[in-house]
């Protein structure tokens, strides 16, 4: 039994209960740390609860652990980070996500703008997009292999497929949500055609488009494990599959944590765009 988890969990809960009394500066760091500590402690306790004792034929008792706890995971993370594997796999995965998500934006944003602007285009495009959107990338794996073989292209295609439909839908919705008054005032000033699109519609929709891109990037990053189930030989998803096949479950959980951390980083990077002047007006709270 891990006593640290039994002590840490109630302390963290207490901290969360006292949240209102914490000073503004401290709560920004203390609250997420406390939530994290609760999660990690529950993980450890769950792990302890699942372990069992096995008395052998010779009377010796062995403690059998069923799955890795937070400390095993931390050790796995240190191992992966120190021997350079982490960097190699992260770079491979980031490259695939950049390529797949980049293509999805290049194709998806124009399509979404068009479908958002023109009702006819939406009528033509939307049913197909909505029908393809819920299909899991895992279902696309055989298709990807048959079309693109077992190299990078397949994984990139899967990420593209997973992220393009949210991009199209999000962009389309963003354009359709622009208040008509913007468009009409611009028209009254004689702004028409492409100029209207460039100077009014696109800037007006941009904040919402960025939000939809953030969601799509999250999906693209989430899909990395499925995309790398294809016989590629590096990447974080590959590493999870490989560690799983080899019984190294501590490395599985370690890679999961790394995927989560990099996901936070990606989201933070995309959020920086929201601070640009062209976009900032769209966020009332900042």
């Amino acid at each position: 039994m891990s006593t640290w988890a039994l002590v840490a969990a109630p302390l963290a809960v207490l901290l969360l209960l006292l949240a209102r009394r914490l000073p503004e500066g401290a709560s920004r760091w203390l609250l997420p740390a406390a939530t994290g500590l609760v999660a990690v402690s529950l993980w450890q306790l769950w792990c302890d609860w699942k372990s069992y004792d096995l008395t052998g034929g010779d009377g010796k008792v062995r403690r059998i652990q069923v799955f890795p706890g937070p400390l095993d995971t931390l050790a796995g993370m240190v191992k992966l980070a120190s021997d350079g594997q982490m960097l190699r796999h992260s770079v491979a995965s980031l490259y695939r996500v950049a390529a797949g998500f980049g293509l999805a934006c290049l194709v998806g944003v124009p399509l979404g703008l068009w479908a958002g602007w023109s009702t006819r285009a939406m009528q033509a495009l939307n049913p197909l997009v909505q029908a393809l959107r819920p299909i899991s990338p895992i279902a696309w794996i055989p298709v990807a292999i048959l079309w693109f073989g077992i190299k990078d292209a397949s994984a990139i295609f899967l990420i593209f497929v997973a992220s393009i439909f949210p991009v199209v839908t999000g962009t389309m919705t963003a354009v359709r949500a622009i208040p008509q008054v913007y468009v009409r005032s611009a028209q009254n000033f004689g702004v028409r055609g492409f100029e209207l699109f460039r100077r009014v519609v696109f800037p007006a929709a941009l904040p919402q488009i960025l939000t939809s891109l953030r969601i799509a990037l999250g999906i693209a990053w989430m899909v990395i494990v499925a995309a790398e189930m294809i016989a590629v030989d590096q990447g974080l998803g590959y590493q999870i599959m490989d560690a799983r096949n080899a019984n190294n479950y501590d490395l599985v959980t370690a890679s999961m944590v790394f995927i989560g951390l990099i996901g936070i980083g990606l989201d933070a990077a995309l959020r920086r765009f929201e601070r640009l002047d062209e976009v900032r007006w769209g966020y009332s709270k900042q």
């Binding site: 052998g56 069923v66 048959l146 096949n245 080899a246």
Partner: protein
């Protein structure tokens, strides 16, 4: 896991579609025994998962397959080619290493690529690999569908090849010994049943192909019949006592190729105490009960809808 009937214990069979999930079910104690590839079982044991190999699943029953029109004619022609293996923790992998050594080829003279077994035929068909080595029915499938040619059956490469083994959790071995014995006896008896009329028409195997294909695996019975009868020694189900010399050889190969981290003694991961003397096994077997039309229809309805196939003849 079990229910009892007058004729013995009924063991519940659970189908998995991949080894990792099965392994996790075993680690989490959701299943008590399973068939898995031998080196994977050895890896589990070496990682401290309390399991033991109690029996073999079958002998032979794999094949090395190349493209139908491929110029590859013997093992040495595979130099520089890409060969799909089911897993690095498979004896198919160790067999390739063993053959390279035997032929004096360096260990890196071909690319061995881990590909999930059901994808081997399509990987060959799409020329993503030049050859594959895996258990049945995938070699037969490539052969029957016309794009694969069997380069070697196991009897030509490593006679009495061991692929899958029966793995039982130690907890069950320690606490439910008679039950494990009954399981192993049943496997031994059904293996004997499958093999006993091999030379005289192999009706038992044909029946098994029909029943198992229709009722359990949603595989075409014709495919399974091909596996079981063409040729008749493509796979065998007798002589399933785990042999120490072969396992020692597998262990040496596995340690040498870093598939396993350390050498283990045979007794650390094998328990031969259940392996029955075939002459003493006496489980009444006649013929497998044939499914009724209603059962066949029910199974068909339960499986996923498939596109209608053109009627044959």
């Amino acid at each position: 896991m079990t229910q009892h009937s007058a004729s013995g214990t009924v063991f519940k069979a659970q189908k998995f579609t991949d080894f990792p999930s099965m392994k996790e079910a075993l680690i989490a104690r959701k299943i008590d025994a399973t068939f898995m590839i031998a080196p994977l079982a050895m890896k589990l044991a070496s990682d401290g998962v309390p399991v033991k190999i109690c029996y073999l699943g079958h002998r032979d029953g794999s094949a090395l397959v190349v493209g139908k029109d491929s110029p590859i004619r013997d093992f040495k022609d595979l130099a520089g080619k890409t060969v799909a293996i089911p897993s690095r923790f498979s004896n198919q992998n160790l067999l390739m290493q063993r053959m390279m050594k035997k032929n004096g080829m360096p260990i890196d003279s071909m690319v061995l690529k881990e590909v999930p077994p059901p994808e081997h035929p399509s990987a060959l068909a799409s020329k993503a690999v030049d050859a594959f080595i895996v258990g049945e029915p995938h070699p037969s499938k490539a052969e029957l569908e016309g794009y694969g040619r069997v380069l070697y059956l196991m009897k030509d490469l490593w006679p009495e090849f061991i692929s899958c083994v029966l793995v039982v959790r130690e907890e069950v071995i320690l606490q439910q010994r008679p039950l494990v014995q009954e399981l192993v006896d049943g496997i031994a008896a059904s293996g004997e049943w499958l093999d006993e009329d091999r030379e005289t028409g192999a009706q038992h195997r044909k029946d098994a192909a029909f029943v198992v294909g229709n009722m359990f695996y949603s595989q075409k019975p014709e495919l399974l019949e091909h596996v079981l009868t063409k040729p008749i020694d493509r796979v065998s189900y007798t002589n399933l006592m785990p042999p120490k010399e072969t396992f020692d050889e597998i262990m040496d190969l596995a340690v040498e190729t870093k598939v396993l981290p350390r050498r283990m003694e045979f007794a650390e991961y094998v328990d031969t105490s259940f392996a029955p003397d075939l002459l003493k096994v006496d489980v009444p077997f006649d013929r497998l009960p044939m499914p009724t039309e209603a059962q066949l229809a029910a199974t068909k309805a339960a499986s996923q809808p498939k596109p209608a196939e053109p009627a044959k003849k």
